[in-house]
Symmetry: C2
């Protein structure tokens, strides 16, 4: 039984905590939260032991939120800590993890040098085995890497050009915009995603542009890949359909965008309406000799959840994880519908 | 066993179909869909017999969507039909239901005279018993009536003034706006909601204004009620907390709006992130003698689902339904968290 602590119970942390509860070989020893908000109340309702910063127990208890102990006690209980604190905060906690001799999984909001390796399960699971510190790349980079490593396996990658249309904020982030603008992210391109992809696919020729759009639902990636050998559309479609964590949205489903994709996940009863899989629009797949164009959507809140579960097992020395994770989380392959 | 058909498998129909499957005394004999879209594919995936308009079977079958028969065959199988077709279409189907001698439940998008009575379970369940045709009032009217009948029971209603801030479209309705405007709905006020409330609370002095806002999540109602006798804030809070299908959002949860409410329903694992309950903001409740002000949110996609289930039982002659419906659907009372 791998004892796992989740530090930070926000968008990623609460999903990873729920996913840990779905694994037979893991025990969730607790979660942490710094503020006594509704998310802390939900952790309690789910029966997750809640740990809070030193000397802030009173603030929680006086709102009727039962506290299990302070954060340090949480870390001590764990074999490994999933750091799901906000970007840039994980590196500050690393010192504590290190002092206690604990392994840790960081998120893509941290710089790559926070960990021994940057990790994307379909690309480099084996490199993660026995590593003390692993960084799961961000949602956009996870989406890019799943698709790129899949195409790399089919025909080799010569050059990649991607335009990322990013969601402005998560559904719950009501203080964040834009509500009526398309913004360059950042104003000096390329975006950081190209460099982030190269933390895993080190020598790839890739250029990325990122634009923020006023939506909370998903990201959308417009991708052009020049492959080393010529391929056919059927090969590309078959490969995507046979890759776990990627689903193809069939043209017959008449789905045109992210709102309808998430309507399907709601209808299917997925928890929180989450979509762990990259969703590729069949109608967008255009193949001409060695030039593949396609568009896919990335659910920013949940896509990294299976990768976090895999990263835990890799760090703990397990040779295999992906199939187990897929089965436990009910991950699809083939077609969305 | 009550045999129920659901005519129209869209926003309301698919939720009512799922809710029927959760009732031990009902059998879903099938659902209908006019277009072979992803929602039709989902009905099939859920194992619901799918009926389609006469002579359109081929259109579905050639997309691999298995059809159980034409719509008339669906109606024949049922004791009662829940009409969840788009507003104004139900009345056209009524002739077919009537010819076959079938009972029917209509939605609030139809005019009140489509049915024998307009129905809101907390207000007039008993009036629905044995009625052949029942119209469940719209989402906004259901929200208003749940709160108003509850306050009526506490202290009597003297006068009601409500401003309804409506969502522009449902999440899946990507062709509908506004995306950047506040619109009067309609430009000549009052809105139709006052008259619709009066189809149930016949002599009420009520004035309603409606404004459409660019959001897909929920409606919000700002309500002022002048009661017949003076009340205290504690009485109002206690009454709301002790009424089924109403929940109070505690101030301590730090929830300020609809996005965070639905983040909670997602976290709690509610199917589709639905909230059947009216959610009243504790911090908005202001009581001065016989003047109650409060603000609450209404989940437009799902609030009428329990009322549809109750309407089925009422029409079939059952004396009780509400508690059974609440238990089967996991409906909350008290506080949201």
């Amino acid at each position: 039984m791998i004892k796992v602590a989740v530090n930070g119970y926000g968008t990623i942390g609460k999903r990873v905590a729920d996913a840990i509860k779905q694994q037979n070989d893991m025990e969730l020893v607790g979660v942490s939260k710094t503020r006594p908000s509704y998310e802390a109340m939900i952790a309690i309702r789910k029966g997750y032991p809640l740990f809070v910063p030193h000397q802030s127990e009173d603030e929680f208890e006086k709102r009727g939120i039962k506290v299990a102990g302070d954060i340090n006690a949480l870390f001590e209980k764990a074999d490994i800590i999933v750091d799901a604190t906000p970007g840039g905060i994980g590196v500050k906690y690393k010192e504590q993890y290190s002092k206690l001799g604990k392994k840790a999984i960081f998120q893509g909001g941290e710089k790559a040098n926070v960990a021994d390796i940057s990790f994307s399960a379909l690309c480099n699971y084996d490199e993660g085995i026995d590593k003390k510190y692993i960084r799961v790349v961000s949602c956009n980079t996870t989406g890019l890497l799943r698709v790129l490593c899949t195409i790399n396996g089919l025909a080799g990658l010569e050059r990649v050009r991607a335009t990322i249309v990013r969601r402005g904020a998560d559904p719950k982030e009501t203080g964040k915009g834009p509500i009526n603008s398309l913004d360059l992210d950042p104003v000096t391109q390329p975006s950081h995603h190209a460099a982030d992809v190269k933390t895993v696919l080190k020598d790839l020729d890739i250029y990325t542009t990122a634009i923020i759009a006023p939506t909370t639902l998903m990201h959308m990636h417009s991708l052009e890949v020049r492959t080393k050998r010529d391929v056919t559309k059927e090969e590309v479609l078959d490969t995507l359909r046979n890759t776990s964590r990627i689903v193809v949205i069939p043209l017959t489903a008449e789905i045109e965008g992210t709102a309808e994709i998430l309507e399907v996940t709601r209808d299917l009863g997925r928890i929180r309406g989450d979509l762990y899989e990259v969703a590729v629009f069949e109608g967008s797949i255009d193949v001409r000799q060695n030039l593949i164009n396609l568009v896919y959507a990335v659910h920013q809140e949940s896509i990294v959840v299976p990768e976090n579960i895999d990263a835990i097992r890799a760090s703990m020395g397990y040779k295999d994880s992906k199939e187990l994770t897929d089965r436990n989380l009910g991950i699809m392959r083939g077609e969305l519908l």
